[in-house]
């Protein structure tokens, strides 16, 4: 399954990209996390950055050279188990619909479900944090029910409020900060996903399991 070595390519003179062949699966991502956990201990590796089905290693070329690092990945990879990392279970309370979820009717229309059913299915899912990126604390979540997939808005919003819960294509997620964005907004949470003052600045980490808990639902029936 994931026995094949990742493709490796330099990302400039101080980073190495390790990339698995498609498709992206949870098992493949678990091996990516396992490699990240090992590599962050290696001398000369300054930072690890999991992507979707790939891992970038930042390194200090004065301490380890790129070819040496490639050899180390090649040697380590076959011995890695796709272990479930000790992800935590995080519940995020969401106020669905209303002012915080202005696109709930559009998602309902696109999916052919009632707004209540969209909320039921979205909050019934168990999601896994594949990686963080885009914004501090923004988690790319796997596990959206395929029936809820809805294309991004044709016109992205200039300012999506912090805490907005959205659907973008086959992904779902929460905006940690005010930001431009094109996802369909179905609700909002008051949980803080990013706090630069905290020892743990982001609520979520790769490998965490997330559930959305419907706190309140505000549905305006559409004609």
């Amino acid at each position: 399954m994931t026995a094949a070595l990742p493709r490796m390519h330099s990302l400039g003179d101080a980073a190495l990209l390790c990339e698995l062949p498609a498709p992206a699966t949870l098992a493949a991502q678990q091996k990516i996390w396992a490699l990240a956990d090992q590599a962050r201990q290696w001398p000369g590796v300054t930072e690890v950055l999991p992507g979707m089905n790939n891992l970038s290693l930042m390194y200090e070329p004065a301490r380890v050279d790129g070819e040496e690092l490639e050899a180390r990945v090649a040697e380590t990879w076959p011995r890695l188990a796709a272990t479930e990392i000790a992800g935590r279970q995080i519940d995020i309370a969401v106020h669905y619909g209303g002012e915080g979820g202005p696109d709930l009717p559009d998602v309902a229309r696109h999916t052919g479900l009632t707004p209540a059913e969209v909320v039921r299915r979205h909050s019934a899912g168990e999601y896994i944090v594949y990686l963080l990126g885009f914004l501090p604390g923004f988690a790319f979540l796997g596990g959206l029910a395929p029936a809820l997939a809805t294309p991004r808005r044709a016109e992205p919003r200039a300012a999506v409020p912090a805490g907005s819960v959205g659907i973008g294509g086959e992904q779902t997620g929460v905006y940690p900060l005010v930001s431009p964005g094109g996802w369909q907004l179905i609700g909002r949470t008051s949980v803080r996903l990013f706090d630069p003052q905290a020892a743990e600045p982001t609520l979520l980490r790769p490998g965490d399991r997330v559930r959305f808990v419907a706190e309140t639902i505000e549905i305006v029936e559409i004609a």
Binding site: A14, G51, P196, P201, T202
Partner: protein, 332 residues
């Protein structure tokens, strides 16, 4: 305190950046030209990691309420301290009450004219947040209140390693870093290693990437320099990319075919093909390259990038030794 009488277009507190948090989605940020900030810091007796100001396109006025020492690197924008010129990579004593003024855009040079980095002895003493004093403009934290400087802001100055005698010493300067361009035109040459998706571009586009000049558009900012030139096309069979790590210097090509070179404030992951990555030793040139200026991409491999980096470290070491011989502390 330093009082901001005029911030100019964009002035922010920056140090060498916020590292080790990319996997949380937190970008490194920091001075876009870390070489300039290091030089300026060394010139005023600071450690390399002291926070300074990054000033975009001049137009800035700063009043110093107490005596200190300052150095500017990058473009000086005709800077004057109470009417006395201060050149790039000079170290100047400042008396309490003096004002530093940076003028408007400098039309004399095709290679500089975008940003300046100012160091002050003792550093800008804003709180450390997640290991750095840099301003993260997008996320709104760090630096001075998580935002660009405004008129009337007051910035605390930290404790300097220089005693009063050395602090008051007359002005001196060092030789700024060399542009050692190998182009025969006014373009800035950037040494670039082919990126992970280089082979996904058509042969014509790969050739054009190295051969054609690229102009920097005014839509550029701390997240990235947007370039305009021939449209770069991927091979038809190329598949969509999944989110993957990007670092400052990454040249990514969105569907428009017009490349963007990512800078310190860019997001940590991206989904556009990476045709190349500017080597670390040349990223300072991009940080200083003026809007509407021209770039050329020069292909290099890891070995050449390594030599270029070592040369830059050697230059920094010479600066440190020279300053030390003149009585300045060695940088930490």
């Amino acid at each position: 305190m330093i009082v901001v009488d005029k911030p100019g277009m964009l002035a922010t507190v920056q140090d060498l950046g916020r590292h080790g948090l990319r996997e949380r989605g937190i970008c490194p940020g920091g001075a876009l030209d870390t070489l300039a900030l290091r030089l300026a810091n060394r010139l005023v007796g600071n450690g390399d990691d002291a926070a300074g100001l990054e000033i975009t396109m001049g137009g800035c006025e700063l009043r110093f309420e107490r005596e200190c020492r300052i150095a500017l690197a990058g473009d000086d924008f005709g800077a004057q301290l109470d009417g006395v010129p201060i050149w790039p990579c000079w170290s100047m004593p400042v008396e309490a009450g003096q004002t530093l003024r940076l003028g408007g855009a400098n039309k004399l040079s095709a290679k500089t004219g975008l940003r300046s980095w100012l160091a002050v002895s003792g550093g800008i003493d804003v709180p450390l947040l997640l290991g750095s004093r840099s301003t993260d403009l997008k996320a709104g934290f760090g630096g001075h209140q998580g935002r660009a400087l405004k008129r009337g802001d007051r910035l605390p100055i930290g404790h300097s390693a220089l005693d009063a005698t050395r602090q008051a010493r007359r002005a001196f300067g060092i030789r700024p870093p060399a542009w050692n361009t190998d182009c025969d035109d006014e373009a800035i040459s950037l040494r670039v290693m082919p990126g992970p998706e280089f082979a996904q571009f058509t042969v014509a586009s790969r050739d054009a990437f190295w051969r054609e000049p690229w102009q920097i558009t005014p839509q550029s900012n701390r997240m990235g320099s947007r370039l305009v030139g021939p449209e770069l096309q991927r091979l038809k069979r190329s598949v969509d990319m999944l989110s993957s790590g990007v670092i400052p210097g990454t040249v990514q090509v969105p569907p428009s075919g017009q490349p963007i070179i990512l800078m310190g404030d860019a997001q940590t992951t991206g989904g556009y093909p990476r045709i190349g990555v500017v080597i670390r030793a040349d990223q300072w040139k991009l940080a200083q390259a003026p809007l509407k200026g021209w770039l050329r991409m020069v292909q290099v491999g890891a070995a050449e990038a390594h030599v270029a980096w070592e040369e830059q470290q050697h230059y920094l070491e010479l600066v440190a030794q020279g300053l030390h011989a003149a009585g300045w502390p060695l940088p930490r």
